[in-house]
């Protein structure tokens, strides 16, 4: 009998707990001392989170923010999109999140994030670098702030070139301005000649390797002024894109590009680390790893231009911070105050100096004085970037473009036929949306 009473009591207690937990979600949004919790899902690493928490502490100490507290929650960058999609589907999304640049358009078109114009963004818009900010601009409205930006540049293995007596004079930069870049190939034509010489001297060693995804290829397309979409029109079949693709295909055909894009091949990054590929396109996220962890001796040059040295360009990568619009207005406003504070010139300069990253705030550029030539090279390359195409789903665009480009690189399709196929399918996708 006693046992039965105990079981019944436990069942009733469990039911009450479930009922209470189900019905009291609002209490989860406030702290014990009554402060409203703003949840910030981010994908920063350990070093970055330390600085983030410092910024949060400073922001919370300001009198106008006394009734709020920011709770940072780390989620893995790999898979952050499905995690956020699922959370939004079941109505359990955060107040703010740090997302890949390519995700902003999807969030905006699915009406999940706040239009920053309604929160006063127009007055401070000019503070941010144009190219990364453009990734947040959807249908003329801004739905996110860039918090970290990057691009790719040309990495070369100094040890390999030194062994062959071909070491180019390292490019010299001064606070983002290229001072001298003479001996390194400045155009793709010069690059091909340089790679041929390398191949001859190295007895057929692989000089250069690329990835085949649209984002990586944009760096090369941009050096020819090629565009993928213009407004609601797919313009990938322009002569500029065809020229860029024909150049890439000829590099592979002549054995000057290793075929790092082929299924099953060693990726450019792995090959560079193992000393197999002498040159690759790479971003600043690997600087610390290459330099400090792997002790590689490498240099960084600007990506060769399509026709002249001035045509050098790159893609835009990085992340943006967004505010979800399913939360009360007061919380959206507080989130906006926090994110604009987090990305202001002073905090950005502090962030970039401590973490060796590129600023996204124009004001921070004046405050950051890098001594590291690699960082300075990236700052120079960053200034030459061009905006990425803004489409509802960049992943879907890649699904269409990447296979077609692979057939062009293989030589099983001509560049013009390949881009014509891409245009048909991308245009259908744009029209569908």
């Amino acid at each position: 009998m006693k046992e039965k009473i105990c079981i019944i009591a436990v069942v009733i207690a469990y039911a009450v707990l479930c009922w209470y937990g189900w019905g009291s979600s609002s209490s989860m949004n406030t702290t014990a001392d009554g402060k409203t919790i703003l949840t910030f899902w981010h994908t920063y690493g350990d070093d970055e989170e330390v600085i983030l928490r410092e910024v949060i502490a400073k922001w919370e100490a300001m009198s106008e923010n006394a009734s709020f507290t920011v709770r940072p929650v780390r989620i893995p960058f790999e898979g952050h999109k499905p995690k956020i999609r699922t959370a939004l589907t079941v109505g359990q999304g955060p107040d703010m999140a740090r997302v890949d640049w390519s995700f902003v358009c999807e969030l905006a078109r699915k009406n999940s994030v706040a239009d920053l114009g309604t929160l006063g963004f127009d007055s401070i818009r000019n503070q941010y670098l144009e190219a990364p900010l453009n990734a947040c601009c959807v249908d003329g409205k801004y739905y996110g702030l860039p918090d970290q930006s990057n691009c790719v540049a040309l990495f070369y293995n100094r040890t390999i070139f030194k062994e062959l007596g071909m070491l180019p004079q390292d490019s010299v930069y001064k606070y983002g301005e290229l001072i001298a870049n003479k001996p390194f190939p400045r155009t793709w034509t010069e690059f091909a000649t340089f790679a041929k010489e390398f191949k001859a001297k190295s007895n057929g060693r692989d000089s250069f390797a690329i990835m085949n995804t649209l984002w990586w290829n944009l760096a090369i397309f941009n050096t020819y002024g090629a565009k993928i979409v213009d407004g609601n029109n797919c313009v990938i079949d322009s002569p500029a894109t065809i020229e860029a693709l024909e150049m890439l295909a000829s590099l592979y055909k002549e054995g000057l590009e290793a075929g790092g894009w082929k299924p099953g091949a060693i990726t450019p990054e792995q090959g560079f680390v193992n000393g197999k590929y002498a040159m690759i396109l790479m971003g600043p996220w690997n600087l610390k790893r290459f330099k400090e962890d792997l002790k590689l001796d490498f240099g960084i040059a600007l990506i060769p231009g399509g026709h002249t040295a001035a045509d050098t360009s790159s893609n835009v990568g990085g992340t943006d911070v967004v505010i979800f619009n399913d939360k009360p207005e007061e919380r959206q406003k507080a989130s906006y105050r926090f994110l604009t504070y987090f990305t202001n010139a002073e905090n950005q300069a502090n962030w970039c100096l401590k973490l060796n990253q590129l600023p996204i705030n124009n004001g921070a550029y004046d405050l950051v004085k890098f001594e590291d030539q690699h960082q300075i090279a990236f700052m120079a390359q960053m200034k030459k970037t061009k905006p990425n195409p803004v489409v509802k789903d960049f992943g879907l665009l890649e699904d269409i473009v990447n296979p077609e480009i692979e057939t062009i690189l293989q030589g099983s399709k001509s560049a013009s036929a390949g881009v014509a196929s891409i245009k048909t399918r991308v245009q259908a996708l744009i029209n569908e949306n």
Partner: protein, 308 residues
Amino acid sequence: MAIRTTKDTVVSWGFLSPFMILFLVFLVFPIFYSFYLSFLGTPTDFSLANMKFVGVQNYIKIIKDYQFWSSLIVTAIYALINIPAGIIVSLALALLLDNKLFGKSFFRSAFFLPNILDMLVVGVIWALIYAPKFGVLAQISSVFLGENNFFNTTGLLGSPYTALLAVIFAMTLKGAGFGMVLFLAALQNIPADVYEAADIDGANEWQKFYLITVPLLKPIIFFMVITGIIGSLNAFTEIYAMTSGGPQVVIGGQALGSTSVAGYYLYKQFDAGNYGYAAAISYIMLIITLTITYIQSKLTAKKAGAKK
């Protein structure tokens, strides 16, 4: 103990209910919900509640989707090679280890081991073995064939003509251990006097194998064919790890993934947020699986009936 009273029934259901609840929520409900989902369009926001009813449009779209049909053909090729190869290798290993061999236990464990490894891990290892220039195969082939050989320049996964075969080879070796265990168990259940009778009748080894062993192993072969078909239609991880659906091949002016099997194509649709379309594809695949299994079981039953 037989159930005699209402109380017994209630108690039985009480004991069954934990499993039944999980079964209904996580297996039965998704089956019916995904069928319902297959009649809905792509969501315009992140709420599944706002998906529009589109009738049979998703199914009509499938009929026109050449990439889906291409992936189904690739799946058929994958199944047609992978299933017989898996059965032959498993049976060969089982026959080998059914003899009195030195280190038999070790080899049984060694051949079974890849089967318990994660598919992704096995896929990545094989991708490294096949990798041109730096992979094991490329290194070995360069010693015997020189630098300018196919394994070193293109690699098995780099050519549309060999990529699927390379995946099949890796998966056959991975799965052979499981088939081997099944065949071994069946082989040990074949009575020795059947072979003795065959010896008296003057049957040679091949005749004993073909006329006694194989017919008595038919239930296992049937089981492996059915699980192989289901496995082929669900194949995803090996493709994801080794080729991502490539390399591309141009057919009728269109770039098509030479290893893009139906399971991988389904994943791509789901990943892109086309839940309704992905659900419709999964139902088409379910119908295909059920049809093939039904025909197979009917044919087997017919043959068994004819022999009686």
